[in-house]
């Protein structure tokens, strides 16, 4: 009973928020907080109902563990981000619609994860795509929305075609039943696999569909970027799971050529994942806009998630499922921290900022903890999931995937550190000296996210338990835990011990620090300046082109964007030609075409 109430409540909530916004904008924004928090509570209460089914109107739903898990991730990100909505009400052109679409898309995502048949899945998928398409242009750029919608449409149309094909083959739209006949038909299974997964690839932002992420995440309203990156991207992971888990891709491709035991069809997609990791990392390193930087990091992390899901094994799959959650909360927290900076300073350009730690320490801490997790450093959650993925890859000997994973891991230290050093540390510009810290309502979600990131890094047992159930349901060996230790085939990780040893080291260092002579506090400009006299803090700040020597090495890289732009230009030219041929103002041309068409129709009729 809980979940139909949840879905209906979100759609009713959307309307309510819209109507309340008409009376009072802030109240409308608070309504989004209340409704999304309500969704979170309902979801947690309804965990006992896993396995039940329900219908709303003509649409059938089934509560699965994986659906519950994905909805949990999504609703958590929505609920945390909702706290920020009220601060952007006066900056948007259509604030009421924003509140409406915010809850409407939330309802869509929850419905999507519980869909029992493919049409329901598609309906809710489109609800999310459309509502987010209308939110994106409320930020900085209209073009971003166009690109986002175009890429999404490529994905959803391919998947719709896949659904129709499935219906034709199996005669049913039920998710479990529709894929059943594919088990014995490798050719058909290959076709469906590649078509169906398209929506997933476009949504995760896998190369070559990654181009929408930096555009949409970078220019969406600051309050929606966390949802886009932390939440909606994960819908793609769900489709990817369906394509390998429910389709049983491994069973269907049994006779195929294999690479290290992986069917070539799946391996091909894993290569795309690896390319996404490397490309996302390299691009993130050279971004000057903090939001675009985190967007490219989502591309890289999407690559990890895709590789793990495609492997469908004990370790990497579990790691990937957990990474989904870790990346969602960490990237949401990072985006929220940047949103606070943008709220106070009006910019997200790294080179225009600096020294924010002296004005907003809690925001700095949030960003710090988020990036430690994003980079996969203990004791945060991101470490556990990356560790599992890498152990899984080592178990299977997938060396080129591992190469990309290592590059992405170390590369992430570079790009996450850049905003840390240039936005939060370094010199504080005099024009920023009077800034206030984050408002209370923004501090609440940031604190919650910080605690969650740390908590699941130290005690990941609860989440890994749920993931184990997902693995059992998918018919693979579940990830093993004993006490606080995660037991991999080729290694053991006791996160609590890591945390305790780290705490011990920190304690010794602190004791040494405290025992010694107290230091004298000096200003930021009181530093070694090579005997120059410098009075302008802005000029004494290393913020732009942070990794200049490294960026130079790949400054002239080939770009898929250029190719797509050329393609778009050609399409435009073709359109102009059609326009010139058929839509002329000269009556003679029109008469000519009418004559031709009538002639063709008549002659064709005669021929028959």
């Amino acid at each position: 009973m809980t979940f139909d109430i949840l879905i209906v409540l979100m759609f009713l909530g959307a309307v309510t928020a819209y109507l309340v916004s008409k009376a009072d904008l802030k109240a409308g924004a608070y309504a989004t907080v209340l409704f999304s928090l309500g969704a979170l509570v309902l979801l947690l209460l309804g965990r006992g109902e896993i396995g039940s089914e329900f219908t709303i109107l003509f649409m059938g739903f089934e509560v699965t563990t994986i659906g519950w898990y994905f909805s949990g991730v999504m609703v958590l990100v929505y609920a945390m981000t909702a706290f920020f909505n009220s601060y952007w009400m006066d900056k948007m052109i259509y604030p009421g619609s924003y509140n409406f679409l915010y809850l409407f898309s939330l309802g869509g995502t929850v419905g999507l994860f519980f869909a029992k048949d493919l049409i329901t899945l598609f309906i809710f998928w489109e609800i999310v795509v459309w509502s987010s398409t209308f939110i994106v242009p409320m930020g900085k750029s209209r073009r971003a929305a166009v690109v986002y919608y175009t890429i999404s449409t490529i994905g959803s149309m391919a998947t719709l075609y896949g659904i129709m094909l499935l219906h034709r083959i199996s005669g049913t739209l039920d998710i479990q039943g529709a894929f059943a006949p594919l088990k014995n038909d490798p050719v058909l299974a290959t076709v469906i696999f590649f078509i169906f997964i398209m929506a997933g690839l476009t949504k995760i932002g896998i190369f070559p569909f990654h181009i929408w992420l930096p555009l949409a995440h970078g220019s969406a309203p600051h309050t929606f970027s966390p949802v886009l990156s932390g939440g909606l991207v994960k819908m793609g992971a769900f489709i990817a799971y369906m394509s390998v888990g429910i389709l049983p891709a491994y069973e269907a491709f049994k006779g195929s050529l294999t690479v290290m035991g992986i069917p070539i069809q799946i391996y091909a997609l894993m290569i795309l994942g690896a390319v996404s990791i490397v490309l996302g990392t390299l691009m993130a390193i050279k971004q000057d806009d903090a939001k675009k930087l985190i967007a490219y990091s989502s591309v890289a992390n999407g690559g990890y998630i895709l590789i793990g899901i495609l492997l469908m094994d004990q370790l990497a799959f579990a790691g990937s499922m957990m990474h989904l959650f870790n990346h969602a909360i960490a990237s949401a927290a990072a985006f929220l921290a940047i949103a606070v900076v943008a709220h106070r300073t009006g910019t997200t350009k790294i080179s225009e900022l600096g020294g924010m730690i002296h004005r907003m320490p809690l925001t700095y801490l949030t960003y710090l903890i988020a990036i430690i997790s994003l980079a996969g450093i203990p004791p945060m959650g991101g470490f556990v999931s990356k560790w599992l993925i890498i152990q899984g890859l080592a178990d299977q000997g997938l060396m080129f995937m591992a190469l990309a994973a290592f590059f992405g891991s170390i590369g992430s230290f570079l790009y996450v550190f850049r905003p840390l050093a240039a936005v939060f540390l370094g010199q504080l510009a005099p024009r920023h000296e009077e800034l206030a810290s984050a408002p209370l309502l923004m501090k609440i979600p940031m604190t919650i996210l910080m605690v969650l990131i740390l908590f699941f890094g130290v005690l990941p047992g609860w989440i890994l338990g749920i993931i184990g159930q997902i693995q059992v349901a998918a018919g693979i060996e579940p990830v093993m835990m004993s006490g606080n230790s995660i037991l991999a085939v080729n290694g053991v990780l006791n996160t609590l011990n890591v945390f305790m040893v780290f705490g011990f080291g920190f304690l010794i260092a602190l004791v040494i620090f405290m025992l010694m002579q107290k230091s004298r506090r000096v200003g930021l400009m009181d530093t070694y300046t090579s005997a120059e006299f410098i009075y302008t803090p802005e000029l004494y700040h290393y913020g732009s082109a942070f990794y200049a020597p490294f960026e130079r090495l790949y400054a002239r890289h080939p770009s898929v964007e250029d190719f797509l732009m050329a393609l778009a230009y050609k399409g435009h030219e073709a359109g102009l030609m059609v326009n010139a041929l058929f839509f002329s103002h000269k009556p003679g041309v029109t008469v000519f075409w009418i004559t031709v068409i009538v002639a063709v129709v008549t002659l064709g009729g005669v021929g028959l």
Partner: protein, 303 residues
């Protein structure tokens, strides 16, 4: 984990500190002899560290202090995970990936503190240090990946024990020579020795990350440097030179490798940072990929 583990861990830390600091002192003498100087007394490094710790210092805000504590704390935690020859403070925690990533906590703390000083030279140094890390770590991790695949364990002591079964010829540096070469070059990068020391280049960027430190901050960073050297050299000893059946064997191998790298360092010039990246991606990475390919696909040296 109980109290005894922590006491044990503390003692091992102390032993690692005394050993590595003495070795640093001896190496200062070795370098001096290479340059036809007499060189300082072998315990000079201890004097330097304790003197720095006892002096007054300036601070640029809480993150400047916090970063130093986090850096030293993180590095000491990593050192606790490293088996000291056959001795281990914490059982079953010497997983190579855990060590590689816990090490990053310390690096991040140091980078944060340096940038927190507000001095751009420090940030430039950090940016170079991170780029350097992206260069040397990938070939190294690739080789390690091959070893883990071959022997189904990612425990340092486990991988060391496997090598000792075959005596001297069982060492991974003999069985996987390409990997051994890669590891030695990467170790040179990890230690920040020439030709990969452009991130602390004193004459060029005023010592980079270290530019603003003095007094207790600097003393703690000296400590950090000794511990991180201990971690990095131990990694190679365990992975490629058979670890140590006894503490003495471990320390002898360790001292020889460290001194060798130090001598090599002192006859080489310095790479620019982009040259270092290009070099690592051209030579060691190619060797590492070949070595890993030989291990995984051909199974060479595994059986």
């Amino acid at each position: 984990m109980n109290l005894m583990n922590f006491v044990y861990a503390f003692l091992l830390l102390l032993a690692a500190f005394v050993f590595q600091t003495t070795l640093t002192g001896i190496n200062r003498k070795v370098v001096a002899r290479l340059q036809r100087r007499r060189g300082p007394r072998f315990y000079q490094q201890f004097i330097d560290i304790f003197k720095a710790l006892s002096k007054g210092s300036t601070t640029h805000g809480w993150v400047f202090d916090f970063g130093v504590v986090m850096a030293l704390g993180g590095i000491m935690a990593t050192a606790i995970f490293i088996p000291f020859g056959p001795l281990k403070a914490v059982p079953a925690m010497d997983n190579i990936f855990i060590i590689a990533y816990v090490l990053a906590v310390g690096m991040l703390g140091m980078a944060m503190s340096a940038s927190g000083s507000g001095n751009p030279w420090a940030s430039i140094g950090v940016s170079r240090a991170l780029t350097n890390m992206l260069a040397y770590d990938i070939p190294f991790m690739m080789v390690v990946f091959g070893l883990i695949f071959a022997f189904d364990t990612s425990s340092l002591s486990g991988l060391a024990a496997i090598q000792r079964e075959g005596g001297f010829l069982g060492w991974h540096v003999i069985r996987f020579p390409l990997g051994g070469i890669v590891a030695m070059i990467s170790l040179q990068g990890m230690l920040g020795k020439k030709p990969f020391d452009s991130f602390i280049a004193p004459a060029e960027i005023a010592s980079g990350p270290m530019v603003e430190y003095g007094g207790r901050h600097l003393g703690m960073l000296f400590l950090l440097h000794e511990f991180s050297t201990f971690i990095e050299v131990s990694l190679i000893v365990h992975l490629f030179f058979g670890g140590g059946a006894t503490v003495a064997a471990f320390l002898v191998k360790y001292a020889l490798i460290y001194t060798f790298l130090n001598i090599v360092s002192n006859v080489l010039p310095r790479f620019k940072i982009d040259q270092a990246v290009t070099f690592f991606y051209k030579v060691p990475l190619a060797l590492a990929v070949v070595q890993t390919f030989l291990i995984i696909v051909v199974g060479m040296g595994v059986a």
